[in-house]
Subunit: 418 residues, 2 copies
């Protein structure tokens, strides 16, 4: 069979699995998840052996240490993955939830009930833990999933799929509810992205290049974010110590992630006092600062920020800083350079807090808290399948509910339309 | 300026109008809608004159009577349009509504607030009333709109746009919040569908061919339904008279619309008694019936339904009829041939009613009511911008809320992530 036929086969099987899976009870889905956890522990040895093949090859190919780290499955990694499975099993099932119900004047009782989206394709980099995470979230939300991880993790992913499908084979969930694309050719992804008839949604996870490639080729709706250029605006009346603490946390607690701060905006009335203090902390933490003209009049030894810096997602200990005349200029800056991801204002001014929350239409907007809270777990969604900066369907961190849609259910007693 | 530049200009202007419009209060939006209603009445004369140009040309081109009817603006049509504007003004504003709010263990107060999608492109046929309807719904939900109607209505649409923008010009809403594409070339649509940077959503309204063309060319997310192949399943234990009344209503009350019944499924235990009675009513109403083998053993004088009939949206007084062995076969038929639009079961059996509601994952599923209720107004959404059979973002009839998304708003008091 050629690649195209194989991918169509996978997608068709996923579609029929999805129909069956939509009717599986929460108990049965949870039991499957817990059995998968058990099987992963039981088969840790063979799994690590398969993973070793990937690692060996990746080392020959000269993968970076960070990538090697993400690729490697150790006993402790597998324990972490298994813990995640148990957490997903413990979450409430979104499917079947009636989110609202109302009675019409003619007596019709109209409600909206959550149902799975159907078949979801996940395209990601060489991180075998994502294979299990994504499979678990899709299964719990009643969706069949087609997983396409980075080619460097192919042996690990096939081994994981074998374990998870082994559990499903005992019933009642069809084993095609979880499928890993077993080949590394790029053509396989391209074919997959054409199958709008069988696949309802594509979620790409990874760097901007990967995501742009998927968006450009896909005929299927894609939910994604390209990058997170997150801002903090320190207002004139900010609590000084709180502002320092939050800025440090947002920039340095984990600089390589999408909800880390990339640009600091400071009100001109507080800049002269605030910038020297926060800059001292940044310097100690190894943060390289780049500033606008006014910033550099206060912090004389930092580099000038170029126009392109304001658009930059550094994902590193680098920060752009700009002094602004006030809230309006801060909002205008975010509108122009922002990525619709996450922005925070540090202020003690009630009106400014409310205006920032109302007027900044990024997917997550905070007052007096770190941008690092823009995360499914931290916001209380219980899980996270990704973050969307596309306004359609979901905007911001996505949990289980965002993997469902709603249908209208209507109880009548003979009504006809006049 | 070439067409591409003109369309980019329109889209850019819409984008900046959207930013301003997102902050306009409900009162200001409602005032604009009511002023538009007044202006349309005041300028009825000139508007009908512009419409006459379109009608004259359309007559020369030999448009069908049904299309001529939709194209024509009479005083009574304009009064109807104006009534619609007043209704939209009276609806609650979805923007700013906080749909949920919860407190996290660390004290963060997390909520979801409705915000406009941004810029919406509507592509439709030669129906000038849609120009006003769609503009009103987008304005009310805080979205800038780019309207592209059928070329036969170009003079009417430009005249309407001039009236609506005249009202906006008095402030505070930027007049570019409502724009009609002032040219009839197809190239204009093609260019528009490429501008994902400026346009957030495309809603095509019209026949399947129009919609497929839009979906194939668009880089922007499209919400649509191709067709409505709606089913009614008459169960063994159905209330006989109710079943006849509902079937008649669903097929004959307005056969040319997407929520009319196209296929009737009848339980074998009731078929012998039910089909002759309902067929008599259908015949009186001029309905042409096509049946499966078992149906034709009961209704001997009707035509055989071919395989392709089960997929057909007749939009006419034509109906396919199939006798099924029970609920399972009915659901399987709907799964295979259905269009995810609207299905109804007529039954007195509690278990079967609940199973049908749970297991049929079309966008609207009813018990003991006509499929004709699958409609934004009838379901109580207050308005309808369209019906979606795409599961992403919205599924089923779409009202004002479906023209919004939600952002996360977070009230903190110094929280940082550990």
């Amino acid at each position: 069979m050629d690649i195209r036929s194989q991918i169509v086969e996978i997608a068709k099987n996923a579609r029929s699995a999805a129909t069956a899976l939509a009717r599986i009870s929460s108990d049965e889905k949870n039991r499957a998840l817990l059995n998968m956890a058990e099987e992963l522990i039981r088969q840790t040895g063979p799994l690590i052996k398969e993973n070793a093949k990937d690692i060996k090859k990746a080392r020959l190919m000269g993968l970076s240490e960070a990538m090697m780290d993400r690729l490697t499955l150790k006993e402790s990694t597998i324990e972490g993955i298994v813990g995640g499975l148990k957490e997903v099993a413990a979450l409430p099932d979104p499917v079947g939830k009636v989110t609202a119900m109302w009675r019409r004047p003619n007596g019709l009782l109209v409600g909206r009930m959550r149902i799975p989206l159907g078949v979801i394709g996940i395209i990601y980099e060489s991180r075998p833990n994502v294979t299990v995470d994504a499979a678990a979230l899709c299964l719990k939300s009643g969706n069949a999933v087609i997983l396409r991880g980075g080619s460097e993790a192919i042996n690990s992913n096939i081994a994981i799929a074998r374990i998870l499908q082994g559990v499903l084979r005992k019933g009642p969930i069809p084993e095609e509810a979880i499928q890993v694309i077993p080949m590394t050719e790029r053509e396989a992804v391209r074919e997959m992205l054409q199958l709008e008839e069988y696949i309802d949604l594509i979620i790409p996870r990874g760097g901007e290049d990967l995501i742009r490639a998927v968006v450009n080729e896909s005929k299927i709706p894609v939910i994604k974010h390209y990058k997170g250029v997150c801002h903090i605006f320190v207002d004139a009346g900010a609590d000084f110590n709180m502002a320092v603490k939050i800025c440090m946390n947002a920039k340095t607690q984990r600089p390589g992630v999408c909800n880390a701060m990339e640009t600091l905006l400071v009100h001109q009335d507080i800049a002269g006092k605030f910038l020297p203090v926060v800059a001292r902390h940044f310097k100690e933490a190894g943060v390289i600062m780049k500033g606008c003209e006014r910033t550099r009049r206060i912090l004389r030894d930092i580099e000038k920020a170029a126009e392109k810096d304001w658009y930059e997602e550094y994902l590193d200990l680098v920060l752009s800083i700009r002094v602004v005349t006030g809230l309006d200029e801060a909002i205008a800056h975010i509108e122009k350079y922002g990525s619709l991801h996450t922005e925070s204002i540090i202020t003690s001014d009630y009106q400014n807090a409310q205006r920032f929350l109302n007027e900044v239409n990024s997917s997550t907007v905070l007052v007096n808290a770190s941008t690092r809270f823009s995360d499914g777990f931290e916001l209380g969604l219980g899980a996270e399948i990704g973050i969307s900066t596309t306004k359609l369907h979901a905007f911001g961190p996505m949990g289980l509910e965002e993997l469902t849609t709603t249908k209208f259910i209507i109880y009548g007693n003979g009504q006809v339309r006049t």
